[in-house]
Symmetry: C2
Subunit: 155 residues, 2 copies
DNA sequence: GCGTTGTCTTGAATGAGTCAAATGACGACG
DNA sequence: CGTCGTCATTTGACTCATTCAAGACAACGC
């Protein structure tokens, strides 16, 4: 990686501050994290950072195009640094783990609805729901142990 | 419509109660509504219904497969009665209006990620973000009236 | 170094949604 | 048709993520 975070912050018209560098550092290590986890991790390198500062920093980063906010249903918002490449996400129904999926098309909107009902679409957000590798193993163990089929997933 | 709501409730193993019929009635008239709006509208036919009862009813309906819950980013959850036909949604960035889009494929998951990273995918949730017809007109008016380009939508 | 302006801290508030105990209604069974 | 067990609703308090507001502070241009 050539361009530093400082450069990118400045390029986005944002000031370079310790809280922002801390948050960027955390995001660089953990691809998909929620605000609370970021606050905890950032406190390791900058102890006096407050939860609200994290929210402020994240809003600034998202506004400046340095970060992206994703909100999987039923979970707190997650933040990631991969922006500009219109990619999608795999979410585990069990543990909530998120993985990136490259978009075949590349440019947004990668999909076009058959009938747009007068809408002008600029982005197609795709979320793949399923079970991650770990949770599949876990699930299989339980099925073997006892009959627990409270699922009934239909089409 | 042949089968009544009573039949469907019973078929799902749920009791037939006035709050449930009220909520179903509201959902039948309004395709995409949040819990609070449902509570207000349902109160018109059943004044003593409480907000918590609405949550309980909705959870029962979703659990019984009679309703579906969708959670657009940055907005309270919406509920709809169209279930079973894997369709998707158009959401307006400005006013939050939601429209249905039929899925070309029909069966879930209608899409398959290129590399599933060990996930077993059972559903692909697609949300098309854009501007509805009304908000396009509104936006155009503002652009003509004054220079307000606080947007910067990229890619 | 100095001032301006944007950013962080501190503290409190909002709003969606949930949990728990007690009353009440549905519907099966007699 | 009446009784009873079970599920549903009511009432009330509570959690959690996120936001708002006012003052202290630090970054950047000069």
């Amino acid at each position: 990686m050539e361009t530093t975070w400082e450069d990118r912050l400045r390029a986005a018209g944002l000031r370079v501050t310790r809280p922002r560098l801390s948050v960027l550092g955390v995001l660089a290590e953990h691809p998909h994290v929620d605000a609370d986890t970021i606050a905890t991790a950032a406190r390791a390198v900058h102890p006096s950072i407050s939860p609200q500062a994290v929210y402020g920093v994240l809003k600034a980063l998202v506004g400046g195009g340095l970060a992206r906010r994703i909100e999987p249903a039923g979970a707190p918002a997650l933040y990631e640094l991969r922006v500009g490449d219109n990619h999608h996400h795999l979410v585990c129904r069990e543990c909530g783990v998120v993985a990136d999926v490259d978009c075949a098309v590349g440019a947004a909107p990668c999909l076009t609805p058959s009938e747009a009902a007068g809408f002008v679409v600029d982005e197609a957000e795709v979320v793949f729901w399923g079970l991650c590798a770990d949770c599949q193993v876990e699930r299989r163990k339980h099925v073997l142990g006892s009959v627990e089929s409270t699922e009934g997933v239909e089409a």
